[in-house]
Assembly symmetry: C2
Homo-oligomer: 394 residues x 2
């Protein structure tokens, strides 16, 4: 007997990255394809101490059911950290989520009706296309410049297309590494305010800035912004702990959706991470991660300068985990992928990050999960592969 699935399942496909990651299991392949933090950045001993402490001190409570919104002191901690970055947030406006990915899904559930127009950056975070895609919107894309979206284009979209929601990653975007300028933050916020468009600001990498000045979230300039954050890049991604900030009226709906989705976020982990945060020097831990990633980023940028044909353009991220390369027009990164795998190096072809199916000549490179020697060798191999492909196409 055949099974009847919901319509929404007919539009989505398994993550392309997921399939690629399977190919790159081969240990002889140097992979820039994944999006993994460097495990050397995980505070293993400190987490172990924190787990022992909370179980000793309040074991029965940390293993029991808890509230949908999350652990109060952890919500306060998140609010306090935003205050330091210039954003005033009430702890009641913070929900602890199962990673910031869940924040994306909850926002989709609460805002998106079938057929609604959702505006995303070109390119955008792949897993948002998947999460939002299950609520069956019509995606529209806005061009991304080196300092953020093309605001003239955005103004036109908002004025003429009845956009329900805008989704963006303003800091060190996945996949491009691009960061919004201060000017673009304020302009984007003003446009969204003007049209009453909902905004989901995804900021999982915000604290991982190793160059330039920190800038406040776009939400600072908005009435109704939803802001997503994550402990994945500063503590541990495997623990799936993030947060969602939203004004009261939005939060009431998010709470309903969250409760229906999984009752509440793992309380044991919330308590362990909170214990870790208050008993350790988190800022110096983050400084270490920044220094580590800065070095890896510099190594990759230098290697690219040395090994890539000069026609290849690439971003120079001020933070985060990814760098984005654009091959000359007509050179396909999917074709490059096949050659690169033979050269024993992997990346993610960029097309998967485009809601409109463009971007055939782009690729994403992760530098946080490879040692400096591997980065040097891998980029040399990739440079060879690009040279070979460009030769073939001449």
């Amino acid at each position: 007997m055949s099974i009847a699935f919901a319509d929404r399942m007919s539009n989505v496909h398994k993550s392309f990255i997921r399939e690629i990651l399977k190919v790159t299991q081969d240990p002889s392949i140097i992979s820039f394809a994944g999006g993994l933090p460097n495990p050397a950045s995980f505070p293993v001993r400190e987490i172990s101490e924190a787990a022992t402490a909370v179980l000793n001190e309040s074991g029965e409570s940390v293993l029991q059911y808890s509230t949908t919104e999350g652990y109060g002191p952890l919500r306060e901690y998140v609010a306090e950290r935003y205050a330091r970055r210039g954003l005033k947030v009430d702890p009641d406006e913070v929900m602890i989520t199962s990673g910031s990915q869940q924040g994306i899904d909850l926002a989709g559930k609460v805002f998106i009706d079938k057929g609604d127009k959702v505006l995303v950056e070109r390119p955008t975070y792949l897993a948002t296309l998947q999460a939002f895609g299950l609520y069956q919107p019509e995606f529209r894309s806005i061009s991304l410049r080196d300092d953020g979206p093309d605001t003239a284009e955005m103004a036109e979209e908002l004025a003429t297309k009845k956009i329900k929601l805008f989704y963006a990653v303003p800091n060190f975007q996945n996949p491009t590494g691009i960061t919004y300028s201060q000017r673009k933050r304020e302009d984007v916020a003003a446009l969204l305010n003007e049209h009453g468009t909902a905004f989901v600001e995804d900021d999982p990498y915000g604290e991982i800035r190793y160059m330039g000045d920190d800038m406040p979230p776009v939400k600072k300039y908005m009435e109704n912004g939803v802001l997503l954050g994550s402990f994945s890049k500063i503590v541990s991604p495997g623990m799936r702990l993030g947060w969602l900030v939203a004004p009261k009226e939005v939060m009431e709906n998010i709470v309903i959706a969250k409760q229906a989705t999984d009752l509440h976020t793992n309380f044991f982990t919330q308590r362990v991470v909170y214990q870790y945060l208050i008993t350790n020097d988190v800022d110096s831990h983050i400084m270490k991660i920044r220094a580590m990633y800065r070095k890896q980023r510099d190594t990759m940028v230098r290697a690219i300068e040395k090994h890539f044909p000069e026609e290849v353009r690439y971003t120079r991220p001020e933070g985060g985990m990814f760098l984005w390369a654009t091959l000359p027009e007509g050179i396909s990164s999917l074709e490059l992928f096949d050659i690169a795998i033979k050269e024993k190096v992997a990346f993610v072809p960029g097309q998967a990050f485009f809601a409109d199916g463009s971007g055939q000549n782009t690729l994403r490179l992760n530098y946080t999960n490879s040692g400096e020697e591997a980065i040097e060798t891998g980029i040399a191999r990739l440079g060879n592969a690009i040279h070979r492909l460009m030769e073939q196409k001449k």
Copy 2:
């Protein structure tokens, strides 16, 4: 500027239970309203040892991102436990979820289109009405007898109403405590097979049987059943760890939905719980929980026999955490609630568990989170309240 939410948000309300639980925060109130396991059943020391062990042995790996399907050995463990209960399951057919509540949400996402007819028991698990409700089905209800659903009525529904999916809790149902007989299991499966109707079998209490013989899941007799389970009642609910069993074609869609929802379930917790399971005598731990709950259940049944008017009917559960009482026709459990709160005892009025809004004279009582003295005293108070209300209505 007013915010435009998705249509689906207009049909749902905050959990009624959630609101009730706030009223019952008063420590002078004896509450049978919650659905909490007895914290004395949590293996705190063992979990602490397991956490230390996995962090010592493979800290960097347990804190890293992991696979959407869940930790392989934990999936095998789940499959092996089902084998002991007479159900053959391949580990590939098991996904680790953020509690069984997430399994409900994922099934809703994968199966339910707006307007689809979803059949539930009358009454049914409240949080399923909420989770499925966000996918906007039309709920239909089937009468529940002492040994399971009315199969004649069910045959009629399936034959005439184009039912997309049936949801049920065949063991020690929340809210009624009712368990399907062996005959009903086979009959229900045969009906669903005949009509090719999807089935979500929710079994969070399956291992918590303290009377009568264990029976295999209904899925044993089905082609396409989805079966949900949970570690909440045998290890810890705060850790939000459950699983979903589904045949390959369904699982492929569930994996897509899960990945979009939160990438994967907390890997640290999966590893800690697996470590706990393989280094402890879980069966003897479950025996202890069963003995504890059996005693609490017996105390409540005896107290009801003594204190409730004889016109009140009630279930005598063979497992799980809840008992269900039915007041005489025309006596409202909502009115009773107000009187009971003054008597310093709380419960959940049953109406919230009915998709069709009936059940005004029913109530749910939890016995696992109160000591024997509190059960005795609380039921005496509740008996008084019922007597008073019935007097008033004469």
